[in-house]
Symmetry: C2
Subunit: 558 residues, 2 copies
């Protein structure tokens, strides 16, 4: 299963080439390209949210390098569902070429169109639904209903002359879903009987034993928590989780409460979901957030964002008393969401803040108020046994998830050599039912920071980490190049290092002395003097303070 | 339960004053001071490990401000057990006054003495054991055995003329512990019958329902994982977890394997534990790490540190192939530890790295290889019912843990107004069985960074966070104060902002123009010119790049 970095041979006619640009080795920025006979099909184009070692980054995109010079060959982008990690990079892709067609279900396209509107892009779209077939160049597509934590999700079967591929998108197999739209195992069975040459399954929960519990077990819990709440109830969830919002609406009605939606994305998404019939809003239950304040405290439920502790979202602002709704004794907060790894500190800071204000905080750890949207190991075994795929490329997961998914494939009889655990940029060629690793592209992370895309590099992030750990010291000197004598300076500034800048008085004479010695030894150029300053200050700060701040010398000719 | 910041009245004779300096609102830097009739007793002096929003900080100490001018009044420091969050600040306390007596059990004092040796301090110590009574000035101490994830832990009862206090230290109530040393509920019962006026219980797991599972359930799991391991086994755990190491030694022997201890603190602590009889090392099981490499792969277990993903510890270095032991296909890694919140990303990075190298990684989420060392809610209820304390001050927890513990007290009949959920610096006075909040001190965080203690401030950390998010731009100019004309510069440097520094060419003319205009409007001083530069660059970077880096102007007189 090793994947060395090597260049693939040119693609021969009749061979299908599969390259995941994102989603392998990370939960996010899902994007896979399929190429045959000169044409390219893309499945998903999502974003990844940064971790703490990527400070100040807003978003991370897949590296579009392999398709940048091939934009005219792209026949379309299939979007499996409307989550950010599957559609978030679409605006950046369409900025390269606006008329690439987007193919997806009604809800998925509505959500991506709302997003594109903010970027002032009107896309070309093709709405599809489960059971539908579409031909795009050499690709014959069939869409299959799957159940996930957002409605109207689709898997896609891709038939080519080289073989048949099934990409699940994100899915689970809730057998009693709220909208009765189950993952279509009959279609999976039929595809399996016809023969699936390559299967790309969601790996997110592949290392979770057993089965994801039923969505409908959540409703009664929400209802009973709301029933017991003496004052206001605030429920926080993902802004696209239509079914969770549905359950909150229903639980509110059962308790004679009204619901106010809070947060821009929550209002936008639920408006779309209602218009398209995915959210059933009981008559008169919704109330404008501003008017809700006039209701008695035990008659209102606020439905908000911020379940991951995001500092600017409604919930964190409430915890910091920076929101017009002032949380107090008797209020109940429900975090109806999973705790995404890496967000623990932020979430617990919010929970502590709300608790301190007197609120009761109900979350996944102390009540069954959320279930995952991804298939656990038990469900994946069903898929493998129904499909009996010839080859498996687990997608959508960190390395540990991909490995766990491959192990499940092997347990159901897929030969180990036909399971491919790889990284973004892996090149997999398929022909006559045989898949093989044909190359490995060296793909990067593309960082979005402010209005810049790809300007911030890994080197900048390394600098930022050093700055965060140690701060910096900058030393400015205008030097006589012949004598090394400072004409102006040394002028020393620091941040994140020490409050009292008089500490630098000790090193200034050392700098002047070192410059003089360097000149005596023949130094005459700016760069060499800079190095002298860097070394002198570096040695001093390390010996005297046992610290390693970034040292930024600026030596100019006087 | 509100605790406004207010100054306590001077302490009257015969009243006991309790002030937690650390451990309230955080898991770490536990330290509480008790004062009566002019004398001070300290219980524990621990450190807190920094979170991601405190970058570059090595350790966080309790604020010693309230005792700094009272060092001669301190009768001693009781150390309840040998974990860093209870003993780690002792060296910094003894640097203020070396002859403050330390009181603790054999193992606790051995561990603190080893630590003090590194700081070249030889302490005054008094070794005590369970059941023992000692008088220190106005404090009559009685030590009670408690069970925890390190041997030889003690609770301490403190009798004064103002009433009796019981401080649990850290504990749980494993009823079948490996060393048969259970938390002494007979002693708790006796103390309860005599009357406990103030109870300070460990809150770490107060929000975990039920009971902490038995330590001895771990052994068979470890044994079976090791039995099935085809090649090398690496177990990572806390370096002071004597019982876990004991279980690994026993499991290794049962499987005909030898054990190599890795990591300086692991070797040091286990050497002490063996010498004092707390660790039973079976004849011939230990082997030097260097010699272990000569054994067949299926005959060795490495016992290492790094279970929290610490980047410099053995395990993370193995995952990065920066360790002499090269992990490969067939190796088994066991993380026999809890995953401390906030460490998830680091730990999963290590797990992904090890998995990628071909190893199987067994951890708490997929096998029962660890149990907590702290009493869960069910155990705390036993304590409350046996003790029936008059007043309760939950310690050792974030706000949500303290609140959960107080709720348990109230459920067992402690009046709500007698439970005190507070923050570090809360002043609680006790007299005639009545406790009341008498003040709130404003205590800070004392940061240790390199060799500096308390030099780094919250302002520096704020600077570091901005630097991490956005990087910085520094602008140097030597200006003619009369005309605003730059004589040298503008010379612009940046880090963490953009790779290509030619972006700044655009703003340089704007700076020169703005300085000229300022001079025309009468500006003549350095500070005002600096502000002009800051505003000009700030506006440019915000408009052109939608970013907010730290802007550091250095304007000097030419």
């Amino acid at each position: 299963m090793a994947t060395p970095v090597f260049a693939p041979a040119p693609l021969e006619p009749g061979t299908l080439r599969v390259i995941p640009l994102g989603g392998l080795g990370e939960i996010g920025r899902n994007m896979t390209i399929f190429e045959i006979d000169g044409k390219i099909l893309i499945v998903d184009a999502g974003v990844l949210f940064p971790e703490e070692h990527q400070p100040g980054v807003d978003l991370i995109l897949p590296d579009f390098a392999p398709i940048r010079s091939r934009l005219d060959d792209i026949v379309g982008v299939v979007l499996t569902h409307g989550h950010e990690d599957h559609i978030g990079a679409v605006p950046y892709l369409l900025k390269l070429k606006q008329d690439i067609p987007l193919i997806g279900s009604t809800l998925t396209l509505a959500l991506v169109e709302a997003k594109l509107k903010e970027h002032r892009i009107t896309p070309y779209t093709l709405t599809v639904r489960e059971g539908q077939h579409e031909n795009l160049g050499p690709f014959e597509l069939e869409f299959v209903a799957v159940n996930h934590s957002i409605p109207d999700a689709l898997a896609v079967a891709i038939r080519t002359t080289a073989g048949t591929v099934l990409h699940t998108g994100d899915f689970k197999m809730d057998q009693l879903p709220l909208d009765d739209r189950i993952t279509d195992l009959r279609a999976f069975a039929r595809l399996g009987e016809q023969g699936v040459d390559l299967f790309l399954p969601d790996s997110t929960n592949a290392d979770v034993p057993g089965f994801t519990p039923l969505e409908r077990d959540i409703g009664p819990v929400l209802e009973s928590v709301i029933a017991k709440a003496p004052r206001r109830v605030i429920v926080a969830s993902f802004s696209s989780h239509v079914h969770r919002v549905q359950q909150v609406l229903d639980a509110a009605v059962a308790n004679g409460r009204r619901v106010a939606l809070m947060g821009r994305s929550m209002v936008r998404n639920m408006t779309i979901a209602e218009q398209l019939g995915f959210l059933r809003v009981p008559e008169g239950v919704l109330i404008d957030a501003k008017k809700a304040a006039d209701l008695p405290d035990d008659r209102i439920v606020y439905m908000s964002t911020g379940s991951q502790g995001e500092p600017m979202a409604v919930l964190a602002r409430m915890a910091n008393l920076e929101h017009q709704i002032e949380i107090g004794e008797g209020d109940t907060i429900i975090l109806a969401s999973s705790l995404i790894p890496g967000n623990e500190n932020a979430v617990y800071r919010v929970i502590n803040g709300l608790t301190k204000l007197g609120a009761r905080v109900v979350h996944k750890a102390n009540a069954k108020v959320h279930v995952s949207g991804h298939a656990a190991a038990g469900e994946l075994l069903y898929c493998y046994n129904i499909l009996k795929p010839r080859n498996v490329l687990p997608v959508h997961g960190e390395y540990r998830h991909l490995t766990a998914n491959a192990a499940l494939a092997i347990e159901t009889g897929v030969p180990a050599e036909n399971t491919f655990v790889g990284e973004d940029g892996m090149v997999l060629d398929l022909r006559d039912g045989v898949a093989r690793v044909a190359g490995q592209l060296d793909l990067g992370h593309v960082y979005v920071d402010g209005s810049s895309v790809g300007e911030i590099t890994d080197a900048d992030l390394k600098d930022r980490r050093i700055l965060a750990e140690e701060g910096f010291i900058s030393i400015f000197i205008a030097v006589d190049m012949q004598t090394g004598r400072p004409i102006v300076g040394p002028e020393i500034q620091s941040r994140g290092f020490a409050e009292d800048e008089s500490v630098f008085d000790a090193v200034k004479p050392q700098i002047i002395k070192a410059l003089g010695e360097a000149a005596a030894n023949g130094t005459r150029d700016q760069h060499a003097y800079s190095q002298v300053v860097r070394r002198t200050v570096g040695r001093w700060v390390n010996t005297q303070h046992r610290r390693r701040p970034m040292i930024v010398p600026v030596v100019i000719e006087a």
